[in-house]
C-alpha cells in the first residue's frame, strides 16, 4: 500500500506542476500585459521615457520580464571591483544622445551592450525627450538605457517551483554580522524572560524566532520551513500570497510585550514574526531604535479577527458537519419510506436545490434569515456567534441536498440486494437491517467525499462570502483575476491543486480503512 500511495502522490504532484505551468501560460502569455496598467493611477501620471521605464519596472514585479537598467549593471561592476566609485559616476552619466557620450561612458555602454545584446535580451536606449529646441527635459524625458528579456515559461516554472519551499538557515543574511547561529531558551524574552516558554532564536536567519509558543492554535509554531507561493502586487500590495491568506484581519489587538531592548509596552506588534531587514535599525526612527537591538525589525501585528483562510475554514467545516448531520438521518428516512410522503418532500427539496440557481436560494435564505432577526452581514469588529448562522446554513443546506440525493440512491440500491432478503429471513427487524447492514454498505461511497469536503472548505465559497460580506478566501481568486495579479493567481492555483489532489488520495485511503474489501494494493 505504501508504494502505491507514494506513486499516487508523485503522479498527483506532477499533475499539479503541469496545471501550474498551464496557468502560467494562460496568465502570462494569454493576457495582454498592457492590461496591468488599465486601472493603475501611477501609470497615467507617467509620461515620455518615464512611462516606458515604469512599464518595465512593473512588468518585472509582475514577473513578465527580466529588466536590468544600465546603472544597476554598473553597480554590480562596482561591487565586483572592476569599477571604482569615481569611475562609476563618469560611466553612469550617459548623454542625451549616443553621439554626445563622454568616452568613459561610451566605453561602458559598449560593454553593457556586449553583455546583453544577445537573444533573448534586448538593449534599449531612449534618447532625451526635450521641450521644443530648449535644453529642458519634458516630464519624464530623461535619457534611459536598459536591457530586458521576456521570461520563458519553463524558466519561470522552474524558478517558481525551486523557490516554493523556503528553508531558513543562518546563512540567509548577506551582510556581515556577528554571532551567526541558533540559541535555545526556556524563557521566551518576548514575555519578559520570566514565563516558561521554550523558543529557538536565530541570528543570521531570515526569521528571528524559528520556534516559539503562544496562546494561538496550534500553540507551537515554527519558521524553519515556510511556503512561498509568490508575491502579490495588487490584491495586497507587496505581501506574500500565503501571508495574504493566513494573516489575521481586523483591528489591532494589543498586549503587553517586552522589546529586545527591555522596554515594555502595550502594543499589537507580534515580535515572534520578526524578520530581517538590512540596515533598518540604523535608518529607523527613534522609537524603533528604542525598541530593537538588531536588524530584525520587520514585525507583523496581532489582529482581532481570523485570517481569510481561517474564516473560510471555520464556516466551511461547520457547514460540512451540519450537512452530514442533516443529510444522513433524512436520507435514511427517505429510503425507508420510499415513494411515501417523506420521500416525495425530500425529493422536491433536492430538485429545488439542484435546479434553482445557487444565487437565488442563497438570497432566499438571507431574506428568510433576515426577517427572523438574524444578522445578515458579517462584522469582524463585533463578533457574535449569531453572525455565523446564516453563512453556515446557506452552505450546509445545498450540500445536504447533494448528499441526500446520493445516499438515498445508494441505500435504495442496497435495499434490493440479496443479503437484505437473507437477513430478513433470518429474523432481523427492518430497523436492525437498516442500521447494521444497509447503511454500512451504502455509506462507503459517501465516505470517499469527506476529505474533499473538509479540505476544499479552505478554498471558501464565492457567492456565500460575497452575499454575507465574509472576509474569507473565496473571493481572493476573483479579485486577483480582476486586478491581473498574476502572482496571486498562480499561487492560489498551486494551493488549490495540492488540496484537491490530496483530498482524492485521502478519500481513497479513508474508503479502504472503512471497507476492508477495498485494497489499495495493485
Amino acid at each position: 500500500m505504501g508504494r502505491y500511495l507514494l506513486w499516487r502522490i508523485l503522479r498527483g504532484l506532477l499533475s499539479v506542476v503541469i496545471v501550474v505551468g498551464i496557468v502560467m501560460v494562460l496568465v502570462y502569455s494569454g493576457l495582454d500585459r498592457e492590461l496591468v496598467f488599465a486601472s493603475d493611477p501611477v501609470y497615467s501620471k507617467q509620461a515620455s521615457n518615464g512611462r516606458t521605464v515604469y512599464k518595465m519596472q512593473q512588468w518585472e514585479k509582475y514577473g513578465y520580464v527580466d529588466y536590468v537598467p544600465y546603472t544597476e549593471y554598473l553597480l554590480t561592476k562596482v561591487r565586483s571591483g572592476e569599477l571604482s566609485q569615481e569611475e562609476y559616476y563618469a560611466a553612469a552619466s550617459f548623454a542625451d544622445t549616443p553621439d554626445r557620450d563622454s568616452p568613459e561612458a561610451a566605453r561602458w555602454i559598449e560593454a553593457f551592450r556586449e553583455e546583453y545584446e544577445k537573444a533573448p535580451w534586448q538593449v534599449v536606449r531612449l534618447n532625451a525627450d526635450k521641450k521644443g529646441s530648449s535644453e529642458k527635459y519634458k516630464e519624464g524625458g530623461q535619457p534611459r538605457l536598459f536591457a530586458y528579456r521576456d521570461i520563458p515559461v519553463l524558466g519561470r516554472l522552474g524558478r517558481y517551483l525551486t523557490g516554493f519551499i523556503f528553508i531558513d538557515t543562518t546563512n540567509y543574511v548577506q551582510e556581515n554580522i556577528e554571532n551567526r547561529g541558533l540559541t535555545f531558551t526556556w524563557r521566551d524574552p518576548v514575555y519578559g524572560g520570566e514565563k516558561f516558554s521554550p523558543a529557538i532564536l536565530g541570528n543570521g536567519t531570515r526569521h528571528k524566532y524559528l520556534l516559539y509558543c503562544d496562546s494561538r492554535f496550534p500553540f507551537v509554531h515554527q519558521n524553519f520551513i515556510t511556503l512561498n507561493l509568490g508575491t502579490s502586487y495588487a490584491v495586497s500590495t507587496g505581501s506574500e500570497v500565503w501571508e495574504t491568506l493566513t494573516s489575521p484581519q481586523g483591528s489591532f489587538k494589543p498586549s503587553y510585550v517586552t522589546y529586545p531592548t527591555g522596554v515594555q509596552a502595550y502594543t499589537a506588534d507580534d515580535l515572534h514574526s520578526a524578520q530581517y531587514a538590512a540596515g533598518s535599525l540604523e535608518n529607523g526612527t527613534n522609537t524603533l531604535r528604542a525598541h530593537f537591538t538588531d536588524d530584525y525589525t520587520l514585525v507583523r501585528t496581532h489582529k482581532q479577527g481570523l485570517s481569510k483562510l481561517g474564516y473560510s475554514f471555520l464556516i466551511g467545516i461547520l457547514a460540512v458537519a451540519l450537512s452530514y448531520l442533516i443529510a444522513i438521518p433524512l436520507a435514511l428516512w427517505m429510503a425507508r419510506k420510499r415513494d411515501k410522503l417523506p420521500d416525495r418532500l425530500g425529493s422536491s427539496y433536492i430538485v429545488f436545490i439542484m435546479a434553482v440557481p445557487s444565487l437565488a436560494y442563497i438570497f432566499l435564505f438571507k431574506a428568510i434569515g433576515g426577517s427572523l432577526g438574524l444578522p445578515t452581514t458579517f462584522d469582524m469588529e463585533n463578533p457574535s456567534y449569531l453572525m455565523y448562522v446564516l453563512p453556515v446554513i446557506s452552505l450546509a443546506l445545498p450540500a445536504a441536498a447533494n448528499l441526500m440525493k446520493w445516499l438515498r440512491r445508494y441505500l435504495v440500491d442496497q435495499m434490493s440486494a440479496d443479503y437484505v432478503r437473507f437477513a430478513r429471513a433470518g429474523g432481523l427487524s427492518s430497523r436492525e437491517i437498516f442500521r447494521q447492514h444497509i447503511f454500512k454498505n451504502a455509506v462507503i461511497p459517501i465516505v470517499h467525499g469527506i476529505p474533499a469536503a473538509v479540505l476544499l472548505a479552505l478554498t471558501g465559497a464565492i457567492i456565500t462570502e460575497r452575499v454575507y460580506v465574509v472576509p474569507g478566501a473565496g473571493n481572493v481568486l476573483t479579485r486577483a483575476i480582476n486586478a491581473y495579479d498574476n502572482g496571486v493567481i498562480v499561487g492560489l492555483v498551486l494551493f488549490y491543486g495540492v488540496l484537491s489532489v490530496s483530498s482524492v488520495i485521502l478519500g481513497d485511503v479513508l474508503m479502504s480503512v472503512v471497507d476492508p474489501r477495498i485494497s489499495l494494493r495493485r
Binding site: 503522479r11 498527483g12 499533475s15 499539479v16 503541469i18 496545471v19 498551464i22 496557468v23 494562460l26 496568465v27 494569454g30 493576457l31 495582454d32 492590461l35 430538485v351 429545488f352 439542484m354 435546479a355 434553482v356 440557481p357 445557487s358 444565487l359 437565488a360 438570497f363 464565492i462 457567492i463 460575497r466 473571493n475 481568486l477 476573483t478 483575476i481 480582476n482 493567481i489 492560489l492 492555483v493 488549490y496 491543486g497 484537491s500 489532489v501
Partner: protein, 317 residues
C-alpha cells in the same frame, strides 16, 4: 358457420411456426407512453411550452431590443424603479408592467424574457456541444485502456484549472460575447461529461452480451456505439437534464461576480438589479429575474429528469 367448418384440422404451416409473435415493442413509443402516464408530466410539459413561448416568441413578437427599449423613460424620474402596482397605475393595465419597471424606467417583464432567451440559448448550445463531444469521447475512453491512461491524466490536470480563470482569460483575449462565452464554457466542460460516461461504459463493457459480440467479430467502435450507447440513453437524458439548468445557473453566477456576458442576459439583469435589492420597495426588480431564472431551470430539470426516468426500459413494463 356450422360445426364441421369450425372444428376442422388446420394444416401445419412450417413458415408460420417459425414466426415469433410478441407484442410489438417500439422503444421511443414506450418512452412516450411511460412519460405521459404520469399526469404531472403533462402539466410540467405545458409549463415548459409556456416558458419557451415567452423566452423565444414573446420578445420577437414585440420586437424587443434592449438598446432601443420603447419604454425607457430616462427623463422621467417617477417612471423608474416602480412596483407592478405603481407601474400599472402610471402606464395603464398592460402585460409589460406586471413586473414593474427597472432602473431606467424600462419594462422589467420584457427585459427578463429577452434575457432569458440569451441565457437559455447559451445553456442549450453549451449542453449540446458538451454532450455530443463528451459522449463520443467518453465511449472510446471507457473502452480502450490506452486511451484511459492518457485521458485520466488530462482530466486530472484540466479539472484542477479553475473554471473562473479559464473563462476570464478567454473573455479577455476574445471578448465577452455570446460565442466566446460558449467557447470558454465548453473548452474543458466536455471533460466532465466524458468522465461520467467513461465510468458508465466501464461498468457495462464487460457484460456477457458485449463479450459475445466481440467474439463474433464485431468491431470495437460498433460495440461502443451500437451495443453500449443505446443502453445508456436514460443516463444521457438524465445528464442533459442536469446540464442545461446548471449552465443557466452558472451564467447567473458568473454575471454576479462580474465575469459574465456583455449581452443583457438573465445573469446581467440580476447583477445590475443587485443595488436595487437593498433599497426598500425596489426588491421586485431583483427578485423577478431571479424567480424567472428559477422557474425556467426547475421546469427544464423536472422535464429532463422525468424523461430520463421514462427512457429507462426497466420502467416500461
Amino acid at each position: 358457420m356450422n360445426d364441421q367448418e369450425l372444428f376442422s384440422f388446420v394444416e401445419i404451416n412450417s413458415l408460420e411456426t417459425e414466426q415469433i409473435t410478441a407484442p410489438r415493442y417500439s422503444y421511443w413509443q414506450s418512452v412516450l407512453r411511460t412519460f405521459f402516464r404520469r399526469k404531472i408530466n403533462i402539466a410540467v410539459l405545458i409549463l415548459l411550452g409556456v416558458v419557451l413561448i415567452f423566452t423565444y416568441v414573446y420578445p420577437a413578437l414585440i420586437g424587443y431590443d434592449p438598446a432601443v427599449d420603447p419604454y425607457i423613460n430616462l427623463l422621467d424620474p417617477t417612471a423608474k424603479h416602480l412596483s407592478p402596482k405603481g407601474a400599472m397605475e402610471k402606464f395603464g393595465y398592460n402585460i409589460h408592467w406586471i413586473l414593474g419597471t427597472g432602473a431606467s424606467g424600462q419594462s422589467t417583464f420584457d427585459a427578463v424574457w429577452y434575457g432569458a432567451g440569451i441565457s437559455v440559448s447559451l445553456a442549450l448550445l453549451c449542453g449540446l456541444i458538451n454532450l455530443t463531444v463528451g459522449v463520443a469521447v467518453g465511449a472510446i475512453w471507457g473502452f480502450s485502456r490506452r486511451v484511459d491512461a492518457v485521458m485520466t491524466e488530462v482530466y486530472n490536470i484540466a479539472s484542477n484549472i479553475p473554471y473562473i480563470l479559464l473563462i476570464s482569460v478567454v473573455v479577455l483575449v476574445l471578448s465577452a460575447s455570446f460565442f466566446s462565452m460558449v467557447f470558454a464554457l465548453t473548452v474543458t466542460g466536455w471533460l466532465a461529461v466524458a468522465y461520467f460516461i467513461r465510468t458508465q461504459v466501464m461498468i457495462i463493457r464487460d457484460r456477457e452480451y458485449n463479450l459475445a459480440s466481440r467474439c463474433l467479430g464485431t468491431p470495437l467502435w460498433r460495440v461502443a456505439f451500437r451495443n453500449i450507447l443505446p443502453f445508456m440513453t436514460s443516463v444521457i437524458v438524465t445528464l442533459a437534464a442536469a446540464e442545461i439548468p446548471a449552465y443557466i445557473s452558472y451564467e447567473v453566477f458568473l454575471s454576479y461576480i462580474g465575469m459574465g456576458l456583455s449581452e443583457m442576459s438573465l445573469g446581467r439583469l440580476i447583477e445590475s438589479a443587485q443595488s436595487a435589492m437593498v433599497t426598500p420597495g425596489w426588491g421586485f426588480e431583483f427578485w423577478s429575474p431571479v424567480a424567472v431564472a428559477s422557474v425556467i431551470t426547475v421546469v427544464l430539470y423536472v422535464v429532463g429528469q422525468n424523461l430520463g426516468d421514462a427512457s429507462d426500459p426497466r420502467t416500461h413494463i
